[in-house]
Symmetry: C4
């Protein structure tokens, strides 16, 4: 399913100058977990702490996962009537947000919070539109390290890049003004082209409507065929449709400013093992943030293997920060498509992915002319050591040497 | 044509917290009657009172119909030259609007009025653009309970969600400021995506150009193939085309904020009995307001049966406020499409609709995997009691038990 | 090519209340002549006077033609350096504009002028953007009765209906403020949907890029396939392409506010007699202004016959002001399309047109169900006297009775 | 590949009145060289001077090349902290910009500089948004003759023509205010239709995402199929795709305001000789600026021959300033298209190009009806002397007389 040219063994992390949102965060795509995909609105102090325990139980920080993000529905029914400050639901969060964040921090993890650039959040709680300053200040006082900032009920302040930029920039400036480094994760569903307007104000931006735990089913609630100029992002977007949406905008990602393909569904049960492998691999090579969305307290071995494949994660976290590009895509007679992706990594290392969404196994010769279209003739005729990142080597580490090839890798079987 | 899983008998009305336009109205889609489809511009005090008599004659309030809405052409040639207040046409409305509303109220009904967010109404009378405050105040003084607010002659104040939002929000705020609860029914024909910008300001919004009394004829005056980013909504939109327009935006409807598929044509003669059954059923499951558009003084038994099917109305008025989604749509070789719709109701009850716009009868197996795509495996393998809401039970009530099924309902005949 | 149901003999002109631009002009589509199509930039005082002589020579006012419009290139190199007032080119117009207008008026004709809502006109002369008040005032002082107002060099003040509206409304208000009735002919090439925003500010608006004297050749300089949301109107639009553009927007035309399909090419030599008949007929039934663009000093009999067919002109000038709609359009195997149009006239009279753009003769049965789709069953089964408006009766008048038909006109030959 | 009707020998340069950006520059498309395509970010004082030496070595000014343009990455890490003035990187440019410009001037050449209408340049250096006045002033003080002004990191100030116009006009006005004539080369990648809004503020505007050195490969990073209303211009646009983008907008080019098809790739190795001939020819007849992008210090004879074909350059620099139009384009069964282009030059001279992007040789009869569609019948039946501009005459000059033809040139072989 995914193959890589030459070794990933000696990746040296080089911190580039970040052009974008200058809070010094997300030099590589952020990694963590978010409450929404598994718990939806049913969250509490205990939910968050349990998840944090899951991080420790499964040693997730070793692989890079460190943000525990509390999504929507943490809010009390109303803001503080006098100050306008946000208040957490005292029933769900009896210890208060600051205490919760302290506990998360004491476990060596970081704490994320959620709001919406609208009158309400998507779950119908108070939103932050018009309250950017006090909200950012309060989040900072609580000890938040991360803000996911949604797009519901935005009062018509969308439809041109300028309107969307202004609305989201207000929160960006408010977060910066707190002095606390808070990773800013924009979630405006790709409206008005955030890949064009957001690199200077956010660490990442969503590029589509919400994912759902399905490989490739078309759902009318995610109606657009492309996210370039889509006027109804919707939700219930199948996993491979989001990959299609991501293909043309990979060029816009880079250190400190990433395309967010939405939270992972790995482990939630709606796809097969191979489909989740594809999901995790493609999110990684497209340099999406890797935010888990499953029950991290209780994972099967299969789920755990996928999300802790450190060779794949190394591709995601590679310091060049360059998303893989789709070099070609061809329809398959029986339905679906076959596509080839390649991307640059550090130290003359490259990653190749072949994606087959048809119902049948495909055989492909991977031509180096395609793989190295950006690098040119000298690379196209080279000789490479190839590693399969979904096989383990003799020592049990991800990434098995499968031989040396010149000009092409013949007869690759996919799916 | 329409089938429903398990019983509708014991629907318990649970009032949810409304997120949207906070006037406390339209917790379920509004029901009533409007002058336009039958009378057009030829209305008067007597027309309205006659219709109200029709409500009583046919016992319509028992089924939920309570708004008597006076559409365009009630206006005098000009506003009050001194105050700018709107004036009713003294010839058509000799008793005055307040007296008319009082009479409507005395019959236990509610009174609706019409204007346009433009310089003129669509019929060429004075519009409310720039007169929002005095107009809302006057409507409230007259005793209006409902405002249909049109989009003609809007002076270029459209084309971005912000421009449309601002124009319609002005009236929303003006209505709220009166202190009188007035249901606010936006009619901007789906321009600029009201499903995105209007939930916080209106109780319902039109999603297309005007309906006409025809099943599926393409008319060039309704030229767009989708209402997502349509720049010419037009009119003469056939009934099933509006269903197509509604499919992707059902996700945006909910308690207090509804997609309005336009007034009903049931009883006006342009469609067959079966087509009107489809019309009324689909409007109901998509949670459109049910605003009658026929002559309610004089209805055939067939018309009356359709509009008083209380099982169908119960689906429309179900307190979950969740519009049915189109699970699949396939073209039929002889023309037209076959589609399947399903929606959640209270108490683990669901509604299924199969829609056949082809000229031939179709046979379908209704697969529970499709029906319960949102609910997942545990529902997909369940056993359900099925009721056909267009058959009557042995006691003469709508909704006949047609058996118990597991995993699928085989051999359903449609059309 | 064009047939009409029942007689046109006794059309009674009823002046309706105009909703739009309230200067009292263009109750029916304006008729006249414009310098551009024949002379381009090579105009002078003499050109205009010669054309006016042509009006008299051929008795054109008898048929309704009364505006002599001077298009671009009348301007001096610069405005008055002190007052900013526009100045006519003293070489081309030695007598001055006021004297020219007086002469035109003395011949019983009306005088039109041209400018652009931009920094320059399309021909590179000074435009009126920012000079609306002084320009309107000066045109009024000169005695202008008509303004064609173009769209070149608009400095980015386009792209939303609001920007286009504001720019064109400025001139509308300035013209009204002069106190002189000046017909306002907007020429923004259909950008931003003038059919939506212009009815309250203009008497007519262009709906496309410039016509050229060709029947149906696709030219890349007129690249859009529809004018709904076209971002490059261009020019060199063939005649039948403009008809396609007009089809969905006919619904927006009415008394005082017309879709302008651009000036006529009849007599300029690029089309055949039959093609010019189609051109003149379709412009007429779509209620376009009829502005001649040929050399009116010297016309062939064929040209003169076409432009003075008073039966066709009567359709155009019919007081109902309702544009014909395209009832159906089907592709022809050999290329091109066959389409049917029908429209309402006064006194229960209707006009039908059949348009064949294929290279072969077509035979059609004109079904009254199609023709009277808007009028309904009672009309669809009626009996009608049919007149062919391109044949002459025994007295030599346009419009020959070709029989009485019920439900359909069989075996109509077209093209 | 390219043929021309009648002689190019006696072209007389007539300076037309320029309508556009009134700095008196670019009466014909600018010619020169830019650092980006060959050097990317790896530039220095020496790079620029070496290139200038290349101009002298190969006698390029004789052919019209005179601008040496320094693209991105000349900047110091930050502006002057006190004045905000831009500062050049002191390591790369130890002598300073003024000294560099002086040297360029002393060689008889002109000096170009680069910035972006955004917070950063595309390479991540400080941009000019908000610094227009001081930047223009500083460039003028340094002696710059040309500004290429890019579009990266524009903070959402795009999406409507007005937003783009305002942003780019600010720099236009600032450049004019310096009093120094500085050619203004807009590079907003065709966003918001610069062909519509930029003629009055710029000498040229880019019409697409960045070119790459490839004949016709589709690359997803250049995803739009047309640049009319493209919302993601991207980069990696193959050469013939840019020709497709240019086809409908040629009508908008003219003296002083040109469509810029991007810098040339001739000599960079990604295309064949014939493909580079096509590239240079099409850029020339479409009246694109001719800005070399190869290593001008060291050129092969083939490269030099192409870029110094003075017959082709004469077409580009012809004083009528009229871009060739695509008269027809037909798909070829084996893939790709065959198209025909023609354009007017001075003195009744015309240029014809036939473009074959299929893999096979094509044979075509060039019909004068197509060639002279704009000129009409009198030209279509004429007799012409034909010159092939890619053959040399007996004296060794480009442009060989290949015979005299009436009505058509039969059996032309292409590709």
């Amino acid at each position: 399913m995914l193959k890589q040219l030459t070794s990933l063994v000696c990746i040296s992390l080089v911190v580039l100058n970040a052009l974008a949102h200058n809070n010094g965060l997300a030099l590589t795509p952020q990694m963590g977990w978010d409450t929404w995909n598994y718990y939806g609105c049913s969250i509490s102090e205990q939910t968050i702490l349990d998840a944090a325990q899951g991080f420790i139980k499964y040693d997730l920080p070793k692989y890079g996962y460190n943000y525990v993000v509390m999504d929507d529905c943490w809010q009390a029914p109303a803001r503080n009537a006098t100050t306008g400050a946000p208040i957490a639901d005292p029933t769900k969060f009896p210890s208060g947000m600051k205490a919760l964040a302290d506990q998360i921090h004491s476990m060596g993890l970081k704490f994320g919070i959620y709001s919406s650039a609208g009158m309400y959040t998507c779950g119908g709680h108070f939103g932050s539109l018009g309250y950017e300053t006090i909200d950012a200040q309060t989040y900072a006082e609580w000890g938040a390290d991360y803000l996911k900032y949604d797009n519901c009920y935005n009062e018509g302040q969308a439809g041109t890049p300028k309107l969307s930029y202004d609305r989201y920039a207000n929160m960006s400036f408010a977060l910066n003004a707190t002095g606390r480094p808070i990773l800013y994760s924009m979630c405006n569903w790709g409206e008005d082209g955030p890949w064009n307007f957001a690199p200077t104000i956010a660490n990442s931006w969503r590029i589509s409507g919400d994912i759902y735990d399905n490989y490739n089913r078309f759902d009318e609630r995610c109606p657009c065929l492309s996210m370039i100029d889509c006027k109804l992002a919707g939700y219930h977007c199948a996993m491979t449709r989001i990959i299609d949406f991501a293909a043309p905008v990979g060029q816009k990602a880079g250190t400190n400013h990433w395309n967010d393909l939405d939270m992972l569904e790995v482990g939630n049960g709606g796809m097969t093992y191979d489909e989740y492998v594809t999901h995790f691999s493609m999110w990684s090579i497209l340099k999406s943030p890797l935010i888990l969305g499953n029950n991290v307290l209780n994972m099967t071995n299969e789920t755990l293997e996928i999300i802790t494949n450190d060779a794949i994660i190394a591709v995601n976290q590679d310091s060049t920060g360059s998303a893989a590009e789709r070099m070609w895509k061809v329809p398959v007679f029986s339905g679906g498509d076959l596509s080839s992706w390649s991307g640059s990594l550090v130290n003359n290392t490259f990653v190749i992915a072949l994606l087959n969404t048809s119902p049948e196994t495909q055989y492909v010769t991977v031509n180096f002319t395609d793989v190295f279209i950006d690098q040119g003739p000298s690379y196209q005729t080279g000789t490479y050591v190839i590693y399969d990142l979904w096989q383990k080597d003799s020592a049990g580490a991800w990434g098995k040497d499968i031989g040396t090839y010149t000009a092409a890798i013949p007869d690759v079987e996919i799916g």
